[in-house]
Protein backbone atom coordinates (compact mmCIF):
# COMPACT_ATOMS: atom_id res chain seq x y z
CA UNK A 1 0.00 0.00 0.00
CA UNK A 2 1.25 3.40 -0.90
CA UNK A 3 0.94 4.70 2.62
CA UNK A 4 3.26 1.93 3.73
CA UNK A 5 5.92 3.02 1.27
CA UNK A 6 5.59 6.59 2.33
CA UNK A 7 5.71 5.67 5.99
CA UNK A 8 8.89 3.69 5.41
CA UNK A 9 10.42 6.62 3.60
CA UNK A 10 9.57 8.98 6.42
CA UNK A 11 10.97 6.59 8.98
CA UNK A 12 14.19 6.37 7.02
CA UNK A 13 14.36 10.14 6.86
CA UNK A 14 14.22 10.08 10.62
CA UNK A 15 17.65 8.51 10.77
CA UNK A 16 19.66 11.61 9.90
CA UNK A 17 17.52 13.68 12.24
CA UNK A 18 18.04 11.25 15.08
CA UNK A 19 21.72 11.10 14.27
CA UNK A 20 21.87 14.86 14.49
CA UNK A 21 19.99 14.75 17.75
CA UNK A 22 22.43 12.26 19.22
CA UNK A 23 25.30 14.35 17.97
CA UNK A 24 24.02 17.50 19.60
CA UNK A 25 23.26 15.65 22.81
CA UNK A 26 26.71 14.17 22.77
CA UNK A 27 28.24 17.54 22.06
CA UNK A 28 26.66 18.86 25.21
CA UNK A 29 29.13 16.86 27.23
CA UNK A 30 31.96 18.46 25.34
CA UNK A 31 30.98 21.96 26.27
CA UNK A 32 31.06 21.24 29.93
CA UNK A 33 33.70 23.37 31.50
CA UNK A 34 36.09 21.43 33.59
CA UNK A 35 36.80 17.77 33.72
CA UNK A 36 34.07 15.54 32.33
CA UNK A 37 35.27 12.69 34.45
CA UNK A 38 34.21 14.50 37.60
CA UNK A 39 30.75 14.66 36.12
CA UNK A 40 30.64 11.00 35.33
CA UNK A 41 32.35 9.66 38.37
CA UNK A 42 31.46 12.31 40.90
CA UNK A 43 33.91 14.45 42.85
CA UNK A 44 34.98 11.93 45.46
CA UNK A 45 37.19 9.78 43.38
CA UNK A 46 40.93 9.23 43.42
CA UNK A 47 43.23 10.46 40.68
CA UNK A 48 44.17 6.95 39.68
CA UNK A 49 40.57 5.92 39.40
CA UNK A 50 39.92 8.98 37.29
CA UNK A 51 42.67 7.95 34.89
CA UNK A 52 41.17 4.49 34.66
CA UNK A 53 37.75 5.91 33.95
CA UNK A 54 39.17 8.32 31.43
CA UNK A 55 40.53 5.43 29.47
CA UNK A 56 37.41 3.33 29.90
CA UNK A 57 35.27 6.18 28.61
CA UNK A 58 37.50 6.78 25.62
CA UNK A 59 38.15 10.30 26.81
CA UNK A 60 41.76 10.03 25.82
CA UNK A 61 40.71 9.43 22.23
CA UNK A 62 39.65 11.91 19.56
CA UNK A 63 36.20 13.43 19.46
CA UNK A 64 34.78 11.37 16.64
CA UNK A 65 35.85 8.10 18.20
CA UNK A 66 34.06 9.04 21.35
CA UNK A 67 30.98 9.90 19.32
CA UNK A 68 31.01 6.59 17.49
CA UNK A 69 31.37 4.78 20.78
CA UNK A 70 28.49 6.77 22.13
CA UNK A 71 26.21 5.92 19.23
CA UNK A 72 27.21 2.28 19.42
CA UNK A 73 26.19 2.33 23.03
CA UNK A 74 22.89 3.93 22.13
CA UNK A 75 22.11 1.21 19.65
CA UNK A 76 22.48 -1.25 22.49
CA UNK A 77 20.10 0.79 24.56
CA UNK A 78 22.85 2.17 26.72
CA UNK A 79 22.13 5.71 27.79
CA UNK A 80 24.84 5.87 30.38
CA UNK A 81 25.00 5.17 34.08
CA UNK A 82 23.58 7.36 36.74
CA UNK A 83 26.13 8.77 39.14
CA UNK A 84 23.62 8.81 41.95
CA UNK A 85 22.19 5.34 41.71
CA UNK A 86 24.74 3.49 39.64
CA UNK A 87 21.86 2.11 37.61
CA UNK A 88 21.43 2.24 33.85
CA UNK A 89 19.82 5.51 32.93
CA UNK A 90 17.87 3.80 30.21
CA UNK A 91 16.19 1.41 32.59
CA UNK A 92 15.42 4.14 35.09
CA UNK A 93 13.80 6.25 32.41
CA UNK A 94 11.88 3.35 30.94
CA UNK A 95 10.36 2.63 34.31
CA UNK A 96 9.08 6.15 34.45
CA UNK A 97 8.04 6.45 30.83
CA UNK A 98 4.42 5.46 31.21
CA UNK A 99 3.85 7.96 34.01
CA UNK A 100 5.04 10.83 31.84
CA UNK A 101 3.29 9.52 28.77
CA UNK A 102 0.01 9.21 30.60
CA UNK A 103 0.34 12.72 31.99
CA UNK A 104 1.25 14.41 28.72
CA UNK A 105 -1.33 12.51 26.72
CA UNK A 106 -4.10 13.25 29.20
CA UNK A 107 -3.05 16.89 29.15
CA UNK A 108 -3.16 16.84 25.37
CA UNK A 109 -6.61 15.27 25.36
CA UNK A 110 -7.87 17.91 27.72
CA UNK A 111 -6.33 20.65 25.66
CA UNK A 112 -7.87 19.36 22.44
CA UNK A 113 -11.27 18.43 23.85
CA UNK A 114 -11.70 21.87 25.37
CA UNK A 115 -9.64 23.98 23.01
CA UNK A 116 -11.08 22.77 19.71
CA UNK A 117 -14.77 23.27 20.58
CA UNK A 118 -13.91 26.67 22.04
CA UNK A 119 -12.09 27.59 18.86
CA UNK A 120 -15.01 26.43 16.74
CA UNK A 121 -17.43 28.37 18.88
CA UNK A 122 -15.25 31.44 18.59
CA UNK A 123 -15.24 31.03 14.81
CA UNK A 124 -19.00 30.67 14.62
CA UNK A 125 -19.54 33.69 16.82
CA UNK A 126 -16.78 35.79 15.40
CA UNK A 127 -16.10 39.06 17.15
CA UNK A 128 -18.75 38.43 19.76
CA UNK A 129 -18.12 38.27 23.46
CA UNK A 130 -17.60 34.52 23.23
CA UNK A 131 -14.77 35.14 20.82
CA UNK A 132 -13.23 37.74 23.10
CA UNK A 133 -13.47 35.57 26.18
CA UNK A 134 -11.93 32.57 24.49
CA UNK A 135 -9.10 34.73 23.26
CA UNK A 136 -8.40 36.01 26.74
CA UNK A 137 -8.54 32.49 28.14
CA UNK A 138 -6.10 31.35 25.50
CA UNK A 139 -3.64 34.14 26.11
CA UNK A 140 -3.84 33.59 29.83
CA UNK A 141 -3.06 29.94 29.24
CA UNK A 142 0.17 30.57 27.43
CA UNK A 143 1.22 33.44 29.65
CA UNK A 144 0.84 31.85 33.03
CA UNK A 145 3.93 29.84 33.94
CA UNK A 146 2.86 26.27 34.27
CA UNK A 147 4.79 25.62 37.47
CA UNK A 148 3.20 28.59 39.15
CA UNK A 149 -0.36 27.80 38.13
CA UNK A 150 0.18 24.25 39.31
CA UNK A 151 1.31 25.53 42.68
CA UNK A 152 -1.45 28.05 43.08
CA UNK A 153 -4.14 25.63 42.04
CA UNK A 154 -2.96 22.84 44.28
CA UNK A 155 -2.73 25.36 47.09
CA UNK A 156 -6.29 26.42 46.50
CA UNK A 157 -7.86 23.12 45.65
CA UNK A 158 -6.01 20.84 47.97
CA UNK A 159 -4.74 22.78 50.91
CA UNK A 160 -7.53 25.30 51.21
CA UNK A 161 -10.66 23.76 49.81
CA UNK A 162 -9.83 20.06 49.92
CA UNK A 163 -11.19 19.44 46.47
CA UNK A 164 -8.18 17.73 45.01
CA UNK A 165 -6.14 14.82 46.21
CA UNK A 166 -2.72 15.36 47.73
CA UNK A 167 0.05 15.68 45.18
CA UNK A 168 1.66 12.43 46.13
CA UNK A 169 1.89 10.48 42.92
CA UNK A 170 -0.23 8.56 40.49
CA UNK A 171 -2.51 6.60 42.75
CA UNK A 172 -3.44 6.05 46.37
CA UNK A 173 -0.88 3.53 47.63
CA UNK A 174 -3.55 1.79 49.63
CA UNK A 175 -5.51 1.02 46.49
CA UNK A 176 -2.50 0.16 44.41
CA UNK A 177 -2.02 0.28 40.68
CA UNK A 178 -4.21 -1.84 38.40
CA UNK A 179 -2.98 -4.92 36.60
CA UNK A 180 -0.26 -3.93 34.18
CA UNK A 181 -1.33 -4.06 30.52
CA UNK A 182 -0.19 -0.79 29.01
CA UNK A 183 1.33 0.82 32.07
CA UNK A 184 -1.21 3.64 31.83
CA UNK A 185 -3.23 3.47 35.02
CA UNK A 186 -6.37 5.05 33.56
CA UNK A 187 -6.43 2.66 30.62
CA UNK A 188 -5.48 -0.42 32.58
CA UNK A 189 -8.02 0.15 35.31
CA UNK A 190 -10.76 0.58 32.70
CA UNK A 191 -9.65 -2.51 30.84
CA UNK A 192 -9.74 -4.60 33.98
CA UNK A 193 -12.88 -3.05 35.37
CA UNK A 194 -11.05 -1.85 38.45
CA UNK A 195 -13.19 1.14 39.35
CA UNK A 196 -11.50 1.96 42.61
CA UNK A 197 -8.16 2.20 40.86
CA UNK A 198 -9.68 4.29 38.08
CA UNK A 199 -11.18 6.76 40.48
CA UNK A 200 -8.00 7.06 42.45
CA UNK A 201 -5.82 7.41 39.37
CA UNK A 202 -8.17 9.96 37.91
CA UNK A 203 -8.28 12.09 41.02
CA UNK A 204 -4.50 12.06 41.08
CA UNK A 205 -4.04 12.99 37.43
CA UNK A 206 -6.77 15.48 36.71
CA UNK A 207 -5.17 18.54 38.26
CA UNK A 208 -1.64 18.15 36.87
CA UNK A 209 -3.08 17.24 33.48
CA UNK A 210 -5.36 20.24 33.56
CA UNK A 211 -2.53 22.58 34.48
CA UNK A 212 -0.28 21.18 31.78
CA UNK A 213 -3.02 21.11 29.16
CA UNK A 214 -4.17 24.61 29.94
CA UNK A 215 -0.70 25.93 29.21
CA UNK A 216 -0.91 24.79 25.60
CA UNK A 217 -4.60 25.35 24.96
CA UNK A 218 -4.11 28.74 23.33
CA UNK A 219 -2.37 27.65 20.13
CA UNK A 220 -4.84 24.79 19.68
CA UNK A 221 -7.79 27.10 20.16
CA UNK A 222 -6.33 29.69 17.86
CA UNK A 223 -5.66 27.28 15.04
CA UNK A 224 -9.06 25.66 15.41
CA UNK A 225 -10.67 29.06 15.22
CA UNK A 226 -8.60 30.13 12.26
CA UNK A 227 -9.12 26.86 10.44
CA UNK A 228 -12.86 27.07 10.94
CA UNK A 229 -13.03 30.66 9.77
CA UNK A 230 -11.10 29.86 6.63
CA UNK A 231 -13.23 26.83 5.93
CA UNK A 232 -16.45 28.75 6.51
CA UNK A 233 -15.38 31.59 4.24
CA UNK A 234 -14.13 29.29 1.51
CA UNK A 235 -15.94 28.72 -1.80
CA UNK A 236 -17.08 25.16 -1.02
CA UNK A 237 -19.16 26.55 1.82
CA UNK A 238 -20.85 28.96 -0.57
CA UNK A 239 -21.65 26.12 -2.93
CA UNK A 240 -23.04 23.97 -0.16
CA UNK A 241 -25.26 26.78 1.03
CA UNK A 242 -26.43 27.36 -2.52
CA UNK A 243 -27.49 23.73 -2.68
CA UNK A 244 -29.47 23.98 0.52
CA UNK A 245 -27.27 21.78 2.67
CA UNK A 246 -28.15 21.80 6.35
CA UNK A 247 -26.15 24.41 8.31
CA UNK A 248 -25.20 21.82 10.91
CA UNK A 249 -23.78 19.65 8.19
CA UNK A 250 -21.87 22.51 6.62
CA UNK A 251 -20.24 23.32 9.94
CA UNK A 252 -19.74 19.90 11.43
CA UNK A 253 -19.24 17.69 8.42
CA UNK A 254 -17.52 19.89 5.90
CA UNK A 255 -15.88 22.89 7.54
CA UNK A 256 -14.76 20.98 10.61
CA UNK A 257 -13.02 18.28 8.62
CA UNK A 258 -11.08 20.88 6.73
CA UNK A 259 -10.21 22.75 9.91
CA UNK A 260 -8.94 19.64 11.67
CA UNK A 261 -5.96 19.27 9.41
CA UNK A 262 -4.09 22.35 10.61
CA UNK A 263 -5.15 21.44 14.15
CA UNK A 264 -3.41 18.12 13.77
CA UNK A 265 -0.22 19.86 12.72
CA UNK A 266 -0.46 22.13 15.73
CA UNK A 267 -0.94 19.16 18.06
CA UNK A 268 2.35 17.77 16.84
CA UNK A 269 4.09 21.04 17.58
CA UNK A 270 2.41 21.44 20.95
CA UNK A 271 3.52 18.02 22.15
CA UNK A 272 7.05 19.36 22.49
CA UNK A 273 5.83 22.03 24.88
CA UNK A 274 3.97 19.37 26.82
CA UNK A 275 7.14 17.33 27.25
CA UNK A 276 9.07 20.36 28.43
CA UNK A 277 6.29 21.41 30.73
CA UNK A 278 6.04 17.94 32.19
CA UNK A 279 9.43 18.47 33.84
CA UNK A 280 7.96 21.35 35.80
CA UNK A 281 4.54 19.88 36.47
CA UNK A 282 5.91 16.54 37.66
CA UNK A 283 8.19 18.40 40.03
CA UNK A 284 5.33 20.30 41.59
CA UNK A 285 2.99 17.37 41.89
CA UNK A 286 5.60 14.76 42.78
CA UNK A 287 4.49 12.83 39.76
CA UNK A 288 6.87 9.87 39.41
CA UNK A 289 7.74 10.36 35.77
CA UNK A 290 10.79 11.22 33.71
CA UNK A 291 10.42 14.90 34.49
CA UNK A 292 10.74 14.41 38.21
CA UNK A 293 13.67 12.11 37.54
CA UNK A 294 15.59 14.76 35.66
CA UNK A 295 14.74 17.37 38.27
CA UNK A 296 16.36 15.23 40.90
CA UNK A 297 19.25 14.47 38.58
CA UNK A 298 19.86 18.18 38.12
CA UNK A 299 19.81 18.70 41.83
CA UNK A 300 22.46 16.05 42.34
CA UNK A 301 24.57 17.02 39.31
CA UNK A 302 23.96 13.65 37.74
CA UNK A 303 24.83 14.67 34.23
CA UNK A 304 24.63 11.29 32.52
CA UNK A 305 21.07 11.03 33.76
CA UNK A 306 20.26 14.50 32.45
CA UNK A 307 21.81 13.70 29.11
CA UNK A 308 19.99 10.39 28.93
CA UNK A 309 16.71 12.13 29.64
CA UNK A 310 17.28 14.67 26.89
CA UNK A 311 17.85 11.96 24.34
CA UNK A 312 14.97 9.82 25.55
CA UNK A 313 12.47 12.68 25.63
CA UNK A 314 13.55 14.00 22.26
CA UNK A 315 13.29 10.59 20.64
CA UNK A 316 9.83 10.27 22.12
CA UNK A 317 8.94 13.63 20.60
CA UNK A 318 10.33 12.72 17.20
CA UNK A 319 8.32 9.50 17.12
CA UNK A 320 5.10 11.18 18.21
CA UNK A 321 5.66 13.84 15.58
CA UNK A 322 6.12 11.18 12.93
CA UNK A 323 2.96 9.34 13.94
CA UNK A 324 0.92 12.52 13.82
CA UNK A 325 2.45 13.35 10.46
CA UNK A 326 1.40 9.98 9.08
CA UNK A 327 -2.07 10.48 10.50
CA UNK A 328 -2.30 13.78 8.68
CA UNK A 329 -1.27 12.04 5.50
CA UNK A 330 -3.95 9.45 5.93
CA UNK A 331 -6.62 12.08 6.47
CA UNK A 332 -5.85 14.63 3.77
CA UNK A 333 -6.74 13.25 0.36
CA UNK A 334 -4.89 16.01 -1.43
CA UNK A 335 -1.42 14.99 -0.30
CA UNK A 336 0.25 12.87 -2.90
CA UNK A 337 2.27 9.90 -1.89
Amino acid sequence: MKLGFYATRRILLLVPVLLGVTFITFALTRIIPGDPISLIAGPYVSVARKAELRHAYFLDRPFYVQYVHYVAGLLHGNLGTSIVSGQSVASELSRRFSATFELTTTALLFSVLVGVPLGILAALKRNSWVDGVSRVVGIAGISIPVFWSGLMLSLLLFYKWHLASPPLGRIDPQIGPPQHITGLYLVDSLLTGNWAAFRSAFSAIWLPAFVLGFSVMAPIMRIARQGMIEALDAPPTVALRALGAKPSSIVLRHALKNAMLPVLTMIAIVYGYLLGGSVLVETIFSWPGMGLYVYNAIGSSDFPAVQGFILYATTMYVIVFLLLDLLYLALDPRVKY
Binding site: L18, I32, F147, W148, M152, G272, Y295, I298
Partner: protein, 290 residues
Protein backbone atom coordinates in the same frame (compact mmCIF):
# COMPACT_ATOMS: atom_id res chain seq x y z
CA UNK B 1 21.63 48.06 -13.90
CA UNK B 2 18.19 48.76 -12.59
CA UNK B 3 17.86 51.31 -9.88
CA UNK B 4 16.31 49.39 -7.05
CA UNK B 5 14.33 52.35 -5.85
CA UNK B 6 12.30 52.32 -9.05
CA UNK B 7 11.37 48.74 -8.50
CA UNK B 8 10.75 48.92 -4.79
CA UNK B 9 7.26 47.89 -3.83
CA UNK B 10 6.31 47.72 -0.22
CA UNK B 11 4.18 44.74 0.49
CA UNK B 12 3.35 45.85 3.99
CA UNK B 13 1.70 49.04 4.94
CA UNK B 14 3.86 52.10 5.42
CA UNK B 15 4.99 52.47 8.95
CA UNK B 16 2.73 55.41 9.63
CA UNK B 17 -0.49 53.67 8.73
CA UNK B 18 0.54 50.61 10.72
CA UNK B 19 1.33 52.75 13.74
CA UNK B 20 -2.07 54.41 13.57
CA UNK B 21 -3.84 51.09 13.45
CA UNK B 22 -1.77 49.80 16.32
CA UNK B 23 -2.77 52.76 18.40
CA UNK B 24 -6.42 52.04 17.72
CA UNK B 25 -6.15 48.44 18.76
CA UNK B 26 -6.87 48.10 22.44
CA UNK B 27 -5.34 44.68 22.68
CA UNK B 28 -1.95 45.81 21.50
CA UNK B 29 -2.10 48.94 23.58
CA UNK B 30 -2.71 47.10 26.80
CA UNK B 31 0.22 44.88 25.96
CA UNK B 32 2.46 47.86 25.41
CA UNK B 33 1.24 49.39 28.66
CA UNK B 34 2.15 46.31 30.66
CA UNK B 35 5.59 46.04 29.13
CA UNK B 36 6.14 49.74 29.69
CA UNK B 37 5.40 49.30 33.39
CA UNK B 38 7.85 46.42 33.58
CA UNK B 39 10.55 48.36 31.79
CA UNK B 40 10.07 51.24 34.18
CA UNK B 41 10.40 48.84 37.10
CA UNK B 42 13.57 47.45 35.63
CA UNK B 43 15.15 50.79 34.89
CA UNK B 44 14.11 52.61 38.04
CA UNK B 45 14.14 49.74 40.50
CA UNK B 46 16.45 51.43 43.02
CA UNK B 47 14.00 54.32 43.24
CA UNK B 48 10.80 52.31 43.20
CA UNK B 49 11.75 49.53 45.57
CA UNK B 50 11.55 50.48 49.22
CA UNK B 51 14.18 47.93 50.30
CA UNK B 52 17.36 46.58 48.71
CA UNK B 53 16.65 43.23 47.10
CA UNK B 54 19.25 41.26 49.01
CA UNK B 55 18.85 42.74 52.41
CA UNK B 56 17.38 40.19 54.73
CA UNK B 57 15.77 41.10 58.01
CA UNK B 58 15.76 38.27 60.49
CA UNK B 59 13.16 39.89 62.68
CA UNK B 60 10.60 40.24 59.92
CA UNK B 61 10.51 36.86 58.24
CA UNK B 62 7.43 35.31 56.68
CA UNK B 63 5.29 38.38 57.13
CA UNK B 64 2.05 38.56 55.16
CA UNK B 65 1.45 41.59 52.92
CA UNK B 66 1.14 44.78 54.93
CA UNK B 67 1.69 48.47 54.56
CA UNK B 68 5.37 48.26 55.34
CA UNK B 69 5.84 45.19 53.14
CA UNK B 70 3.38 45.42 50.27
CA UNK B 71 3.94 41.88 49.11
CA UNK B 72 5.09 40.45 52.42
CA UNK B 73 8.45 38.93 53.28
CA UNK B 74 10.01 35.54 52.83
CA UNK B 75 11.96 33.22 55.10
CA UNK B 76 15.07 35.36 55.14
CA UNK B 77 13.20 38.59 55.64
CA UNK B 78 13.59 39.80 52.05
CA UNK B 79 10.89 42.25 51.00
CA UNK B 80 8.98 40.52 48.24
CA UNK B 81 7.78 43.73 46.61
CA UNK B 82 11.28 45.09 46.21
CA UNK B 83 12.56 41.80 44.91
CA UNK B 84 9.68 41.56 42.44
CA UNK B 85 10.50 45.02 41.12
CA UNK B 86 14.18 44.17 40.80
CA UNK B 87 13.24 40.87 39.23
CA UNK B 88 12.00 42.77 36.20
CA UNK B 89 15.65 43.47 35.41
CA UNK B 90 16.56 39.84 35.14
CA UNK B 91 13.62 38.66 33.12
CA UNK B 92 13.57 41.61 30.75
CA UNK B 93 17.29 41.38 30.16
CA UNK B 94 16.88 37.70 29.43
CA UNK B 95 13.91 38.33 27.15
CA UNK B 96 15.47 41.13 25.14
CA UNK B 97 18.94 39.66 25.18
CA UNK B 98 18.05 36.13 24.16
CA UNK B 99 15.62 37.30 21.48
CA UNK B 100 18.07 39.82 20.08
CA UNK B 101 20.84 37.27 19.82
CA UNK B 102 18.55 34.63 18.32
CA UNK B 103 17.22 37.18 15.86
CA UNK B 104 20.59 38.33 14.62
CA UNK B 105 22.13 34.89 14.40
CA UNK B 106 19.00 33.21 13.07
CA UNK B 107 18.33 35.83 10.43
CA UNK B 108 21.94 35.66 9.35
CA UNK B 109 21.73 31.92 8.84
CA UNK B 110 18.38 32.21 7.12
CA UNK B 111 19.59 34.92 4.80
CA UNK B 112 22.69 32.96 3.90
CA UNK B 113 20.67 29.84 3.26
CA UNK B 114 18.16 31.63 1.06
CA UNK B 115 20.81 33.72 -0.61
CA UNK B 116 23.45 31.19 -1.49
CA UNK B 117 21.05 28.34 -2.00
CA UNK B 118 21.80 24.79 -3.05
CA UNK B 119 24.13 22.92 -0.75
CA UNK B 120 24.54 25.63 1.84
CA UNK B 121 20.78 25.97 2.04
CA UNK B 122 20.34 22.23 2.53
CA UNK B 123 23.01 21.99 5.17
CA UNK B 124 21.82 24.99 7.16
CA UNK B 125 18.22 23.87 7.05
CA UNK B 126 19.06 20.31 8.08
CA UNK B 127 20.97 21.64 11.07
CA UNK B 128 18.00 23.82 11.97
CA UNK B 129 15.72 20.79 11.65
CA UNK B 130 17.90 18.85 14.04
CA UNK B 131 17.80 21.66 16.56
CA UNK B 132 14.05 21.89 16.19
CA UNK B 133 13.65 18.18 16.80
CA UNK B 134 14.33 18.85 20.47
CA UNK B 135 11.53 20.21 22.63
CA UNK B 136 12.90 23.69 23.19
CA UNK B 137 12.73 23.71 26.97
CA UNK B 138 14.52 20.40 27.16
CA UNK B 139 17.33 21.50 24.86
CA UNK B 140 17.79 24.70 26.82
CA UNK B 141 17.86 22.58 29.94
CA UNK B 142 20.64 20.47 28.47
CA UNK B 143 22.73 23.44 27.43
CA UNK B 144 22.54 25.13 30.80
CA UNK B 145 23.11 21.85 32.63
CA UNK B 146 26.28 21.38 30.60
CA UNK B 147 27.56 24.92 30.87
CA UNK B 148 26.58 25.54 34.43
CA UNK B 149 23.81 27.75 35.77
CA UNK B 150 24.38 31.46 35.41
CA UNK B 151 22.66 34.43 33.82
CA UNK B 152 24.85 34.60 30.69
CA UNK B 153 24.59 30.84 30.15
CA UNK B 154 20.85 31.09 30.51
CA UNK B 155 20.64 33.82 27.90
CA UNK B 156 22.90 31.86 25.60
CA UNK B 157 20.90 28.66 25.99
CA UNK B 158 17.56 30.33 25.28
CA UNK B 159 19.00 32.21 22.32
CA UNK B 160 20.50 29.00 20.99
CA UNK B 161 17.19 27.20 21.15
CA UNK B 162 15.36 30.00 19.34
CA UNK B 163 17.76 30.44 16.42
CA UNK B 164 15.95 27.98 14.11
CA UNK B 165 12.72 29.97 14.31
CA UNK B 166 14.33 33.06 12.87
CA UNK B 167 16.45 31.16 10.39
CA UNK B 168 13.38 29.54 8.93
CA UNK B 169 11.41 32.74 8.96
CA UNK B 170 13.97 34.75 7.08
CA UNK B 171 14.75 31.99 4.64
CA UNK B 172 11.11 31.63 3.73
CA UNK B 173 10.76 35.40 3.33
CA UNK B 174 13.81 35.34 1.12
CA UNK B 175 12.35 32.64 -1.07
CA UNK B 176 8.91 34.22 -1.21
CA UNK B 177 10.17 37.63 -2.15
CA UNK B 178 12.58 36.17 -4.67
CA UNK B 179 9.71 34.44 -6.41
CA UNK B 180 7.51 37.53 -6.50
CA UNK B 181 6.81 38.79 -9.98
CA UNK B 182 8.27 42.20 -9.54
CA UNK B 183 11.49 40.84 -8.12
CA UNK B 184 11.89 38.27 -10.87
CA UNK B 185 11.39 41.02 -13.36
CA UNK B 186 14.01 43.12 -11.65
CA UNK B 187 16.47 40.26 -11.49
CA UNK B 188 15.90 39.60 -15.17
CA UNK B 189 16.79 43.22 -15.75
CA UNK B 190 20.01 42.87 -13.83
CA UNK B 191 19.19 43.44 -10.17
CA UNK B 192 21.73 41.67 -7.98
CA UNK B 193 20.78 39.17 -5.30
CA UNK B 194 22.44 41.28 -2.67
CA UNK B 195 20.18 44.19 -3.44
CA UNK B 196 17.20 41.87 -3.44
CA UNK B 197 18.12 40.90 0.08
CA UNK B 198 18.76 44.31 1.49
CA UNK B 199 16.33 46.41 -0.46
CA UNK B 200 13.35 44.07 -0.78
CA UNK B 201 13.49 41.15 1.59
CA UNK B 202 14.62 42.84 4.78
CA UNK B 203 12.33 45.87 4.64
CA UNK B 204 9.38 43.63 3.83
CA UNK B 205 10.16 41.22 6.62
CA UNK B 206 10.30 43.48 9.62
CA UNK B 207 6.63 42.89 10.34
CA UNK B 208 6.65 39.09 10.74
CA UNK B 209 10.02 39.31 12.48
CA UNK B 210 8.63 41.82 14.95
CA UNK B 211 5.52 39.79 15.64
CA UNK B 212 7.58 36.64 16.07
CA UNK B 213 9.94 38.45 18.41
CA UNK B 214 7.21 39.54 20.76
CA UNK B 215 6.04 35.97 21.01
CA UNK B 216 9.61 34.70 21.44
CA UNK B 217 10.17 37.22 24.21
CA UNK B 218 7.25 35.74 26.08
CA UNK B 219 8.54 32.18 25.65
CA UNK B 220 12.01 33.29 26.68
CA UNK B 221 10.74 34.55 30.01
CA UNK B 222 8.77 31.38 30.64
CA UNK B 223 11.77 29.23 29.80
CA UNK B 224 14.08 31.34 31.92
CA UNK B 225 11.75 31.29 34.89
CA UNK B 226 11.19 27.58 34.48
CA UNK B 227 14.89 26.82 34.28
CA UNK B 228 15.66 29.04 37.24
CA UNK B 229 12.88 27.34 39.14
CA UNK B 230 14.53 23.94 38.75
CA UNK B 231 17.91 25.36 39.61
CA UNK B 232 19.32 25.77 36.15
CA UNK B 233 19.27 29.48 35.62
CA UNK B 234 19.83 32.44 37.78
CA UNK B 235 20.89 31.14 41.15
CA UNK B 236 19.31 31.52 44.51
CA UNK B 237 19.06 34.08 46.12
CA UNK B 238 19.08 36.51 43.22
CA UNK B 239 15.65 38.13 42.78
CA UNK B 240 14.67 36.49 39.52
CA UNK B 241 11.00 35.62 39.50
CA UNK B 242 11.44 31.91 38.88
CA UNK B 243 14.01 31.68 41.64
CA UNK B 244 11.67 33.47 43.99
CA UNK B 245 8.96 30.92 43.31
CA UNK B 246 11.41 28.16 44.07
CA UNK B 247 12.36 29.82 47.33
CA UNK B 248 8.73 29.99 48.34
CA UNK B 249 7.87 26.45 47.33
CA UNK B 250 8.10 24.86 50.73
CA UNK B 251 6.07 27.55 52.45
CA UNK B 252 2.93 27.02 50.47
CA UNK B 253 1.89 24.12 52.63
CA UNK B 254 2.08 26.23 55.73
CA UNK B 255 0.02 28.94 54.14
CA UNK B 256 2.57 31.61 53.20
CA UNK B 257 1.21 32.01 49.73
CA UNK B 258 2.57 35.48 49.01
CA UNK B 259 6.14 34.41 48.52
CA UNK B 260 5.24 32.56 45.33
CA UNK B 261 2.11 34.41 44.35
CA UNK B 262 3.56 37.80 43.48
CA UNK B 263 6.55 36.77 41.41
CA UNK B 264 4.33 34.36 39.50
CA UNK B 265 1.83 37.10 38.79
CA UNK B 266 4.69 39.27 37.57
CA UNK B 267 5.77 36.56 35.15
CA UNK B 268 2.24 36.02 33.91
CA UNK B 269 1.64 39.74 33.41
CA UNK B 270 4.87 40.31 31.54
CA UNK B 271 4.44 37.33 29.26
CA UNK B 272 0.84 38.31 28.70
CA UNK B 273 1.99 41.80 27.79
CA UNK B 274 4.26 40.41 25.08
CA UNK B 275 1.58 38.06 23.83
CA UNK B 276 -1.00 40.82 23.65
CA UNK B 277 1.34 42.93 21.58
CA UNK B 278 2.08 40.02 19.29
CA UNK B 279 -1.56 38.99 19.00
CA UNK B 280 -2.72 42.52 18.35
CA UNK B 281 0.00 43.03 15.76
CA UNK B 282 -1.08 39.91 13.96
CA UNK B 283 -4.59 41.34 13.72
CA UNK B 284 -3.30 44.59 12.34
CA UNK B 285 -0.99 43.00 9.82
CA UNK B 286 -3.26 40.21 8.64
CA UNK B 287 -6.84 41.46 8.59
CA UNK B 288 -8.06 38.07 7.44
CA UNK B 289 -7.77 36.86 11.00
CA UNK B 290 -10.68 38.94 12.16
Amino acid sequence: MVDATLVRVREDRPFRVAWRRIRQNRVTLSGFAIIAVMVVCALFAPWIAPYPPLQGNASETLQPPSLSHLFGTDSIGFDIFSRTVYGARYDLVIAFGAVAIALVVGCAFGAIAGFVGRVVDEVVMRVMDMLSAFPSFILALGVVAALGPSLPNLIFAIAFVNVPVYARLLRSRMLTVREAQYVRAAIALGLSRRRVLFVHVLPNSWAPIFVQSTLQAGYAILEAAGLSFIGLGVRVPKPEWGVMINMGLQYIVSGQWWITFFPGTAIALTVMGFNLIGDGLQDVLDPRRR
